[in-house]
Amino acid sequence: MEDLFQGYKGDALETLKKYNVRVWGKTHIVTTRGEFDGTILPRAENDDDQHIVLKIDTGYNIGINITTIKEMKETGYKKANYKVPEKEFPYTEGQPKVKLFGTGGTIASRLDYRTGAVIPAFSPGELYGSVPELADICNLTTEKVFAVFSENMGPQQYISLAIAIGKEIENGVDGIIIAHGTDTLHHTAAALTYMVQDLPVPVVLVGSQRSSDRPSSDAALNLMHSAIAAGHGDIAEVMVCMFGPTSDEYGFLHRGTRVRKMHSSYRSTFRTLGDTPLATVTRKGVNAIKKKYNHRRKDKNVKILPYFEEKVTILYYYPNMQPDIIDALVNCGYKGIIIAGTGLGHVNKPVYPALKRAVEKGVHIFMTVQTLWGYTHMFVYDTGRDLMAMGVVPLDNMLPEAAYIKLGWALGQTNDRQEVIDIMETPINDETTKREPYNGYLLYQGGVPEVEQFVKNFRK
C-alpha cells in the first residue's frame, strides 16, 4: 500500500489525518500566524513531529507548526517523480569494457526526501544521464554488488567484492571501477589489495566528497578520471582515484595500501602517506609518477584470496592507558591487535604485563605508529626492545588501517604465529616500503612566504 504520509509521525501525522491531507497534496493552511499555500512534502524521519513541510509556489520549503493550524484543506494533488534521467548507455566499438560496481556510496546519487539523505543511483542509464561524458571514455556496464553506507562496509563486503572482481576479470573486462563512500574507502582499498593479487587490469575505487546532486560536485570528474584509469590506464593495481587539488584539475591514483582520508570534508582529502601517489589522471589520460608499478596484462591470471578474521582490532595508544583494556580484548576473544603506538612505536610500562598475558594466550600483536608518517624503530629505546621481547612485532611504516585489514586477512588464513608474522612482514603492494622518499612527507604549513607563494601560484 502506498504511504500517504511519508515520514510523518506522532502529532504531525494525526494533524494530516484529521484534515484529510496527504503528502504531495496542494494545500491551503490557515494558522494563527496567517495563511499559507503549498504542496505538502515528505518529512525527514529524524525531524520532530510538531511541523508539516510545505513547498510554496516560489519553490522554497517552509515548515508549519501544527499547534498554530486552525484549518487545512487539500485543493489538489500532484506527486513528484524524482528520477535521474535515464538514457541508454551507448556502445562504441573499440572502446574499453569497464565494469562499475556499486556499493552504496555517494558517487552518483539523488536525494531521499524521507530521510533527507542522499541515495545512490547506479544504472548505466542513470550514470549516462548525469555524466554523459563517460560514453566517450568506455563502454560501461554496472552492477550493484550491495548497498551499504561507507561506514558499514566490512569483511563480508570485501569478500563479495573480491569474488565479483575475479568473475569480471574472467569475463574479460578491461578495467573495474568500484563506487564507494569515502569514509572507509582506504580500508576497502587495502582489503582488495590483499584479497585480489596479480591483477591483469586496473581496479579503481572512487567516491565523491560532494554528492552529485550538487552543481560543484567532484563526482562527475572523479567518475571520468576513474573510467580513464580503469579503461585506458596501464597501472593494473588496486587504486583509489580522487581529487588531487581541491580545484577541478586532476585526480590522483593512490596505491590501495598507502592511501588515507586526511580531511573530513575537503575534496582533496585522500593522500598517499610516506610515498608519492602512483599517478595523476586527467581526462586526457594517466600520467605515472611512480616508475615501478604492475603493468596491465592480457591474461586473466588473477589470484582471489577472500579471507578475513573479524576478531581483530586497532588499539590507539594514549598516555595513562590501563592494562585492563587489553585484558578485556583478550577476554572478548580478540585474536589480533594492531597498536597505533606513540613515536617510534611505544606504549607505557603499566600495560606490559597485559600485553605479555595476551601474547601468551596466542593473541597476535603488531606495532604501527600513530604519527602515520615514518617507521617503527623499536630498537632505539628500551621501551621498544622490551615490547619486542614480549612478542609485539613492529610493522615498519605500515599504516594502522592497512595493518588492521592485513591482520584480519592473515588471521583468516592461519593462526600459526610464525605464519602470521611472515604474512604481515611480506609486503603485497607497498604496505611497507623499504625506503621513504624525501618527498613522501609533505605537510607544508601556511604563513611562511614560500608556501604562501606556492599556494597563490598553483590552484591547489
Partner: protein, 657 residues
C-alpha cells in the same frame, strides 16, 4: 536586386512605430497603453559581525589583486527534487566556463570554497531578518528550512545559494496604494565578479556568505515611479531597524518588468533606486518593441516554415579587411555566415535607446557562446565592414532572398556550434514573443542580456542542515521590539507639516527615531527638528565628511544642551558645523566660538530705534520693508539662540509703523 535598409532611418522609424517616448514626458496613460507591470526583489545586507553559515568576518572587502589562493571549479546542473533540470542550468553548462575564485584568508575559510559543510545559521542574522519580516507584515513560518537555489554562473562555489523563507503574504502601504509582499528570505550573498573573458570568469570571495535578506513584492506596480516608491519604502523599512548595512552594494534591487503580452524580465543588481524608473521604462518598451517585431514577422511567415541556413566562409576566398575577420586566418578561427529568412528590417529595429535587435544577438553570443565582442556583423549595420562585392557573393552562396537578413559570426571552432545555435535560437524566439531573461543594467538606463531567467525548478532542500523551529514565544518577543511602520512615520511627518522634500533623507538615514527622542525629551517642535535634519543636516552631510567620532548621539546631545541652557532652537544650525568637525568640543566652547551672548527680547529690541535712524541716514529712503530687512540683518546674529527671529521682526515692523 535587394533593396537596402538604411539602419539609422529604420531605427528612428521603428522607434516611432512602437510609440517610444522619453520617460520625462511619459504619463500613467502611456504605461497603461503598453501594460507596464513590475515587481521588486529588494536585497539588503544585514549588519552582523559574522557571515551566515561560517564564522568569517562580515563587511571586510578586498581589492581584486589582494588574494592568497585561487581555486578553479566547473558547474554541472543538478536536478530539482521535482525531477526537472532548470533552463538556465543547462545554458550555463553549455558555456563551459572555468570559474576561478580568488580567496583571501582573512575573509574566506574552507566553507566559502565548498570544502566544508555549513555551520549553524548565524542567530544574529536570523533575528534581524525575522524582525524585518514582522515589520513587513509577513506570515512568519513555523520552521525555517534551508533550501538550495541553484546558480551555475559560478557566483557561488557550491553551485547553489543557501536560502530560506522566513515569511510569506505580507504588505507595505505606499502613499496611494497597498502593495503585497510575496515573501521574505534570508540568504547568503554571492561572490563579486572580477572579470569574464572568453571561457574564464574570475570571482572574489570576500562578500560571499554575508547574510542578506530578499523582500519580494507582488507584480503590482504599474508605473516606474510607483516602482521606485516601493523600492524606497522597503529600503527605509529595512533601515528603520538600524540593523542593516548601508553603503555601496549593501542594498540592491532586482527589478521584474513586463509589458502586456511580454514576459517577466529581471533587471539584476540595481544599486541605486533612482535608476529604477529609467531602467523599467526602457525595459517595458524593449518588450513592446520585440512584440512589434513579432507581429511583423508573423505577417510574413509561419514559424513552421521558417528555416535558417548557414555556411562556413573560406577567408582565402574573400578580400576581408575588417580586422576580426582578417585575424581568423592566423588564429585558425571559423567564419560562419547565417541567413535569417524574412528578418529584413528587424536587425536594425529599435529595442532601447541606442540599441537594436542585432544587439540582443551579439550579447547572447558573448554570454552563451563565450565569444568576446565584436562577435558579429550583419546586413543592417551602418558600416558593413566587408565589401559590397563580398557581401553579394555571400548572399548568393546563402541563397538569400530579398526579405532575408544575414549575420556573420566567427570564433574558435569548438565554440561555433553553440554560437550558431545561439543566433538561431534568439531569432526564433521572436515568434514566441519576449524571452524570460535576466538583464544587467547600464548607467544610461538601458540593459544588456545577462542570463536566461531561472525557474522554480532550481530549488532543492539543503541536506546539510536541519530545520530551525521558530516558537511562538520567540516571535512574540521579537514583535514587541519593533520600530513603527514607515507609513506611520510618513503620516507623522506630514501631520507635523514637514515639507516632503525632507522625508527621503530622514527615512533613508533612519533619523526618525532621533527626531522623536529629541522632541520627546526636550519638548521641541517636531517640525522644526525634522527640518533641521531634513534640510540643514542633510546639506552639511552632503558636502563635508564628518569627523569619525561624530554620530547621532552627539546631535541628541546638542539639543539637550540647547534645552538645558534655555537657548532658542535656531542656534542648532550654527552649532552643527562646529559639532560636525569637532564632535568632542564642549558645547559651551562652541557658544564662545560663535561669540554668543544671552540676551532678552527687550535687550535685543533696544537698539531698533537707533538703527532706524541710522538706516534713514545711510539709504535716504522710507521703504519700510527694506528698512526692516536691514535692521533685522543688524540684529540677526545677536538674536540667534535667544529668541524666535519672527518675534523680533514683528517688533521691528511695529516700531517702523
Amino acid at each position: 536586386m535587394s533593396t537596402k535598409i538604411t539602419p539609422k532611418q529604420n531605427y528612428e522609424l521603428t522607434r516611432q512605430q512602437i510609440g517610444y517616448i522619453d520617460r520625462r514626458l511619459a504619463t500613467p496613460e502611456d504605461y497603461r497603453r503598453i501594460g507596464f507591470k513590475s515587481g521588486l526583489e529588494v536585497h539588503q545586507q544585514l549588519a552582523t559581525k559574522e557571515k551566515l553559515f561560517c564564522h568569517c568576518p562580515c563587511g571586510v572587502f578586498q581589492k581584486n589583486g589582494d588574494y592568497d589562493a585561487e581555486v578553479i571549479r566547473h558547474m554541472r546542473p543538478a536536478m530539482s527534487e521535482l525531477g526537472g533540470y532548470d533552463g538556465t542550468a543547462l545554458m550555463e553548462f553549455k558555456t563551459r566556463k572555468n570559474i576561478i575564485y580568488r580567496i583571501n584568508n582573512e575573509t574566506a575559510c574552507t566553507y566559502e570554497v565548498d570544502d566544508t559543510p555549513p555551520f549553524k545559521i548565524n542567530p544574529e542574522a536570523l533575528e534581524i531578518a525575522l524582525k524585518i519580516s514582522l515589520l513587513s507584515k509577513l506570515n512568519v513560518v513555523g520552521e525555517v528550512h534551508i533550501t538550495r537555489k541553484q546558480y551555475l554562473d559560478g557566483s557561488i562555489p557550491t553551485g547553489f545559494q543557501r536560502t530560506a523563507i522566513l515569511g510569506v503574504n505580507g504588505h507595505i502601504q505606499l502613499r496611494n496604494k497597498k502593495v503585497n509582499l510575496i515573501q521574505l528570505s534570508i540568504e547568503e550573498d554571492s561572490c563579486r565578479e572580477i572579470a569574464d573573458v572568453g571561457h574564464e570568469r574570475w570571482y572574489k570571495t570576500d562578500r560571499l556568505g554575508m547574510p542578506l535578506i530578499e523582500t519580494v513584492t507582488a507584480p503590482e506596480l504599474v508605473t516606474p515611479d510607483e516602482l521606485r516608491e516601493a523600492a524606497e519604502y522597503i529600503r527605509f523599512l529595512n533601515r528603520s531597524t538600524g540593523l542593516v548595512r548601508t553603503g555601496m552594494g549593501a542594498g540592491r534591487e532586482d527589478v521584474n518588468v513586463s509589458c502586456r503580452g511580454g514576459s517577466r524580465v529581471e533587471i539584476k543588481g540595481v544599486a541605486h533606486n533612482k535608476w529604477i524608473p529609467e531602467l523599467s521604462h526602457n525595459e517595458a518598451f524593449r518588450q513592446w518593441a520585440l512584440l512589434h517585431i513579432r507581429k511583423l514577422l508573423l505577417e510574413r511567415i509561419k514559424k513552421e516554415k521558417w528555416q535558417v541556413n548557414h555556411m562556413e566562409l573560406d577567408p582565402h576566398e574573400f578580400k576581408f579587411t575588417y580586422l576580426p575577420l582578417v585575424e581568423c586566418k592566423e588564429k585558425k578561427h571559423k567564419i560562419i555566415a547565417i541567413n535569417i529568412p524574412e528578418f529584413k528590417g528587424f536587425l536594425s529595429h529599435f529595442t532601447q535607446p541606442d540599441q537594436v535587435f542585432a544587439d540582443e544577438i551579439s550579447q547572447r553570443l558573448k554570454v552563451i557562446a563565450c565569444i568576446e565582442k565584436p562577435n558579429m556583423i550583419h546586413s543592417e549595420q551602418e558600416d558593413l565592414s566587408i565589401s559590397d562585392h563580398d557581401f553579394a557573393t555571400i548572399r548568393t552562396y546563402l541563397n538569400a532572398k530579398n526579405n532575408d537578413a544575414q549575420i556573420i559570426i566567427w570564433g574558435p571552432e569548438e565554440d561555433m556550434e553553440t554560437a550558431i545555435e545561439t543566433v538561431v535560437e534568439r531569432c526564433e524566439m521572436i515568434f514566441d514573443g519576449v524571452p524570460n531573461e535576466t538583464r544587467k543594467s547600464l548607467p544610461n538606463g538601458t540593459t544588456i542580456f545577462e542570463r536566461v531567467l531561472p525557474g522554480a525548478d532550481r530549488m532543492y532542500p539543503d541536506t546539510d542542515s536541519c530545520p530551525i523551529p521558530l516558537s511562538n514565544e520567540y516571535i512574540e518577543k521579537l514583535g514587541k521590539d519593533l520600530p513603527q511602520d514607515i507609513s506611520e512615520r510618513i503620516e507623522l511627518l506630514s501631520k507635523w507639516g514637514v515639507p516632503e522634500d525632507a522625508y527621503h533623507f530622514i527615512l533613508s538615514k533612519n533619523i526618525f527615531p532621533v527626531i522623536e527622542e529629541i522632541c520627546e525629551r526636550f519638548k521641541f517642535d517636531p517640525k522644526r527638528v525634522a527640518i533641521f535634519f531634513g534640510h540643514t543636516y542633510k546639506n552639511i552631510a552632503g558636502k563635508q565628511k564628518a569627523h569619525t567620532d561624530f554620530n547621532y548621539r552627539k546631535l541628541i546631545g546638542l539639543f539637550k544642551f540647547i534645552h538645558e541652557k534655555g537657548l532658542h532652537i535656531n542656534i542648532a544650525k550654527y552649532l552643527l558645523p562646529i559639532l560636525f568637525q569637532h564632535p568632542s568640543m564642549e558645547f559651551n566652547s562652541m557658544l564662545t566660538a560663535l561669540k554668543f551672548k544671552k540676551r532678552s527680547l527687550d535687550e535685543l529690541a533696544a537698539p531698533i530705534d537707533f538703527l532706524t535712524e541710522k538706516y534713514r541716514d545711510i539709504r535716504k529712503t522710507d521703504d519700510k520693508e527694506e528698512a526692516a530687512n536691514w535692521i533685522m540683518g543688524q540684529l540677526h546674529k545677536q538674536a540667534i539662540g535667544n529668541i524666535e527671529l519672527r518675534d523680533l521682526r514683528e517688533i521691528i515692523d511695529k516700531r517702523l509703523q
